[in-house]
């Protein structure tokens, strides 16, 4: 392979692809250290206050709105990841193991959320929740603060909903070719159903479950559209917050925030790749 002469065009186009992919990210990170508050042109590295070049990062951490948004984002991501990992894994096991009348249909239905446009799903969830809440509030005569309304809960539920198919997909890939006789061997040796799952099935599919969960985590962390439709007062997430900032002025604070974010996602992706490689 290495002896075949490569066309310079291939090298060039590869370089261009990487340039288009990474140049914006590099610019974004560089501008997090800009000394200009308007952040339109780079006017040299900021060196202000106790933090020096990390001035905008420090400013970020003293901003309560940012911290609240970060807290919301992480809360939503953690809860939706754990719940969707459990449900998604159970769905994968059920699809793998049992034959039931609507199996094919339910399998197809599970993957529809992956392919339909996110905005359609966002609107769908919005319409669903508002209709449900309107009916619920009027039926039970709820008023004022007692009314059901959009908020952290609705965001979490919708994140769980769109994460499940991804977890199921990844776990099913892991289950493909799973040797059923391993479970039978465990039972044969005296393990009941639960012990068999705990000692044999789960350890064998765990890498799949983990990488599915990490996928769900990153999807939740940077989801904008569905969150936008289901969020309410007090449940602003980082993507929503940044979007709000952008409409006014892009200070280097936003760049600093994005830099931290990119690093976080990179670390998560790196871990999940390592887990996949361990198969």
């Amino acid at each position: 392979m290495s002896s075949t002469k490569r066309s310079p065009w291939i090298t060039l186009s590869a370089l261009l692809i990487y340039f288009f992919l990474y140049a914006p990210i590099v610019v974004l990170i560089v501008f997090a250290f800009n000394s200009s508050k308007t952040n339109i042109v780079f006017e040299g590295v900021v060196n202000q206050g106790a933090c020096g070049p990390f001035y905008w990062f420090c400013k970020l951490f003293s901003n309560d709105d940012v911290l609240d948004a970060a807290k919301n984002t992480l809360t939503i991501a953690f809860i939706s990841t754990i719940v969707s990992a459990i449900i998604g894994t159970m769905a994968a096991l059920a699809l793998q193991r049992y034959d039931f009348p609507v199996k094919r249909a339910s399998e197809a239905a599970l993957y529809i959320p992956i392919v339909i446009p996110e905005i359609v799903m966002g609107i769908g969830i919005l319409v669903f929740f508002s209709a449900l809440f309107t009916w619920f509030n009027s039926t039970f005569g709820l008023v004022g603060d007692g009314r059901l309304a959009m908020g952290l809960g609705t965001v979490i539920v919708s994140h769980i909903a769109f994460s499940i198919p991804f977890v199921t997909l990844v776990v099913r890939a892991r289950l493909h070719g799973f040797d059923k006789s391993l479970e039978e061997a465990a039972m044969d040796l005296g393990a009941n159903e639960f012990t068999t799952f705990r000692r044999v099935t789960f350890p064998l599919i765990a890498p799949g479950v983990l990488s599915g969960a990490l996928l769900a985590f990153t999807l939740s962390l940077d989801d904008f559209i569905i969150t936008f439709f289901t969020t309410g007062p007090g449940s602003t997430t980082l993507p929503i917050y940044v979007y709000g900032l952008l409409r006014r002025i892009v200070t280097p604070e936003v760049n600093a925030l994005s830099t931290i974010w990119i690093l976080t996602v990179l670390i998560v992706v790196f871990i999940s790749q390592r887990l996949e490689a361990r198969r």
Binding site: E184, A185, L189, P203
Partner: protein, 365 residues
């Protein structure tokens, strides 16, 4: 103590087929397996051997009938509560555990104290000639070694009955032969009842105390190697175990066990039958090739002249195909035990063949 280690009483198993209809895998099977015996289920692919074994282990429940283990009806007892263990065809060693952990698994499930587990695992691995392999992983072992680990993992629990589903199927011929002897020796030493599934008749004959020959979900004959080989009760068994010539004819006379039949081409055969047969009954006479003598025998009950149509040399023996009057073919097997080992006859030679009454069995089904 119950009379039998395992008893299948009138077991049937039906599976839902691909298009909704029911497929019968096992049909009205009744078997009694004695304590401490090496019992084999032998039959061609798809005859229901694995299904029968899985019903004893509890992985499948019979559609009809009942499995008894030491006299106790098993009903819906799950596998983890049955006093039997299985050695799977693909070994099914846990890939995420070491060999030691694999063997210890069953003991942990039984709540055996840790110190005892260590000792018993060590002892079990020594028994299968893999001492000191505790820390290795299954994928680091050869097929034969994995097979022995699977055996140790089951035997360490000291089950009353060990079920083995073609445990040597994946091994090469040489290793297979070694393992056959080893397994048989092990079974004698531990004194556990072995129920062994195989489609290899030679393997079954070599190892078993008794064999059940199965076909199409039914048991055709149960007996020891000698009975099954020498006195098959139907054409399928005669054909499946070893090799057999079948001569077609009609019964002309029966006197106790001795039966006379008329074959095509005006030949008369003197044979033996267990059953009573009406004159004129269409029947087959089964004769093993090694019981046919290529040199005529004065005083032999059956003596025919024919022409050699084929000579096949297979080393220890040579097969001679002989065409009899009436166009029936008979294969004779002669040992190459003379010093010069020249063939006894050549193609086209006219020969007189002979076989005894006892060598010819009348089979109707």
């Amino acid at each position: 103590m119950a009379e039998y280690a395992v008893e299948l009483r009138d077991i049937s198993k039906r599976f839902p087929g691909p298009s909704g209809e029911l497929v019968t895998a096992v049909r009205n099977v009744t078997m009694q397996i004695r304590d401490g015996e090496f019992f084999s289920m032998l039959g061609p692919s798809g005859c229901g051997k694995t299904t029968s074994l899985r019903m004893i282990a509890g992985f499948e429940l019979p559609t009809e009938g009942e499995v008894y283990i030491h006299g106790k009806p098993m009903g819906k007892t799950p596998p983890f509560q049955r006093p039997v263990n299985t050695v799977f065809q693909n070994y099914a060693l846990f890939p995420h555990m070491t060999i030691g952990e694999n063997v210890a698994f069953g003991l942990q499930m039984d709540g055996v104290p840790k110190s005892e587990i260590m000792a018993r695992v060590k002892q079990a691995l020594e028994m299968v000639r893999l001492p000191g392999y505790e820390k290795r992983r299954a994928r680091q072992l050869s097929g034969g070694q994995q097979q022995r680990v699977a055996l140790a993992r089951s035997l360490v629990k000291r089950p009353e009955v060990l079920l083995l589903d073609e445990p040597l199927g994946a091994l090469d011929l040489k290793l297979r032969k070694d393992m056959q002897l080893e397994l048989k020796k092990l079974q004698r030493e531990v004194g556990i009842t072995f129920i062994y599934v195989t489609h290899d008749q030679e393997e079954a004959l070599t190892m078993s105390d008794r064999i059940a020959v199965m076909s199409g979900g039914v048991t055709l004959q149960v007996g020891n190697a000698n009975e099954i080989y020498e006195r098959p009760n139907c054409k399928f068994v005669a054909d499946f175990i070893g090799e057999t010539n079948f001569l077609q004819g009609k019964v002309t006379e029966q006197n106790g066990k001795a039966v006379t039949l008329a074959l095509a081409g005006g030949l008369t055969v003197h044979a033996e039958a267990e059953q009573s047969l009406a004159n004129g009954t269409e029947a087959s006479v089964a004769v093993r090739p090694e019981k046919v003598n290529l040199t005529g025998h004065a005083g032999a009950a059956n003596q025919f002249t024919g022409r050699i149509v084929s000579v096949v040399y297979i080393g220890t023996d040579t097969y001679y195909g002989v065409r009899l009057p009436g166009d029936q073919l008979l294969r004779a097997r002669e040992q190459n035990d003379r010093p010069d080992s020249r063939p006894m006859a050549a193609e086209g030679d006219e020969v007189t063949i002979s076989f005894s009454t006892q060598a010819a069995r009348v089979l109707t089904e």
